[in-house]
């Protein structure tokens, strides 16, 4: 069973086409990983599917970095 970090990283790598080495906790999707606003929306959609959860628009707007996504999901599934 993969960890949350591994699963989130895989979604990000697949969606944004970035290298594994770039996916650090402090990396911003938009500033560091080259995502545009629509990419971030899609990323959240795929995280919802991966973890079978609903992420509200209000919460989604606060997810800006890789670390934000990981801590949000860890909190939600614990």
């Amino acid at each position: 069973m993969s960890t949350v970090i591994e699963r989130v990283s895989k979604v990000i790598i697949d969606r944004l086409g970035v290298d594994e080495s770039e996916v650090k906790a402090e990396a911003s999707f938009r500033d560091d990983l080259g995502a545009d606003s629509l990419d971030v929306v899609e990323l959240v959609m795929e995280l919802e599917d991966e973890f079978d959860m609903e992420i509200s628009d209000e919460d989604a707007e606060k997810i800006a970095t890789v670390g934000d996504a990981i801590s949000y999901i860890e909190k939600k599934i614990s």
Binding site: L38, V41, E42, M45
Partner: protein, 248 residues
């Protein structure tokens, strides 16, 4: 056939232009979700007509101005046909009155159904279409949304809003291969226009270079074109289907 295997949701498809669009898309092979608000029997008739010609269709009641109702509509479409490839935002109402006499609820009702309804339905299908990396959204505006029309401030504002919404949606979703266009029908023979007084109809005919009313099928053919692979390089446009009434 051009649309074989595609699923099309047509709002307000029980009568008039929406009905013609549902039948036209079905004749080209699409599976149709016939949305209706109040006319259950009319919607069922459309479904049966499609089935009689060997097509697939279901009737689904939903109020396009209500978020939950729209969510349920799209969920039913997905559960039944497994994709949403084409959305036709057609549902519309009129509450005509002079601006000075127009009541707040006449304004709100028309804006909610004719403009907010397009926003809600579009928002509800974009998730699926983004995943598919393909989709077509065709909004039914009106020529009065381009030219204005005394006595229809609410309707004109909504229909002009639909044109702006079409352009913005087209820009936001182009990178995901979702194409968004509008058609602006002129004076089309439907129950909505049958109720107009004869002298008003005569006056309108004088403004139409082709000197005749349009048929719902004239609009449906254009919608089918935008839904097809013949329109792969067209997005954000508004096509007038008005016998030449407004040329800009």
């Amino acid at each position: 056939m051009g649309l074989t295997g595609k699923c099309a949701v047509v709002t307000g498809a029980s009568r008039g232009i929406g009905r013609a669009i549902a039948l036209e898309l079905a004749s080209q092979g699409a599976k149709i979700v016939v949305n209706y608000s109040g006319s259950a029997q009319h919607a069922q008739n459309v479904v049966e007509e499609i089935q009689a010609h060997g097509g697939q269709a279901i009737a689904v009641q939903a109020n396009v101005a209500d978020t939950d109702s729209v969510q349920q509509l799209m969920k039913t479409a997905m559960d039944t046909f497994g994709s949403i490839d084409i959305l036709v935002n057609n549902a519309g109402i009129t509450r005509d009155n002079l601006l000075m006499r127009m009541k707040d609820d006449e304004w709100d009702d028309v804006i909610n159904t004719n403009l907010k309804g397009v926003f809600l339905c579009t928002k509800a299908v974009t998730r699926q279409m983004m995943k598919q990396r393909a989709g077509r959204i065709i909004n039914i505006s009106s020529i009065v949304g381009v030219a204005g029309n005394a006595g229809q401030a609410n309707y004109v504002a909504a229909k002009a809003g639909v044109i702006g919404l079409t352009k913005t949606t087209a820009q936001e979703l182009a990178s995901r291969n979702i194409l968004v266009n509008a058609v602006a029908p002129g004076f089309i023979t439907t129950e909505m226009t049958d109720g107009l007084p004869a002298d008003l109809k005569d006056a309108m005919l004088k403004q139409i270079p082709l000197a005749k009313l349009g048929q719902p099928e004239d609009v449906a053919k254009a919608v089918a074109f935008f839904a097809s692979n013949n329109a792969n390089y067209i997005t954000g446009q508004t096509l007038h289907i008005d016998g030449g009434m407004v040329m800009v």
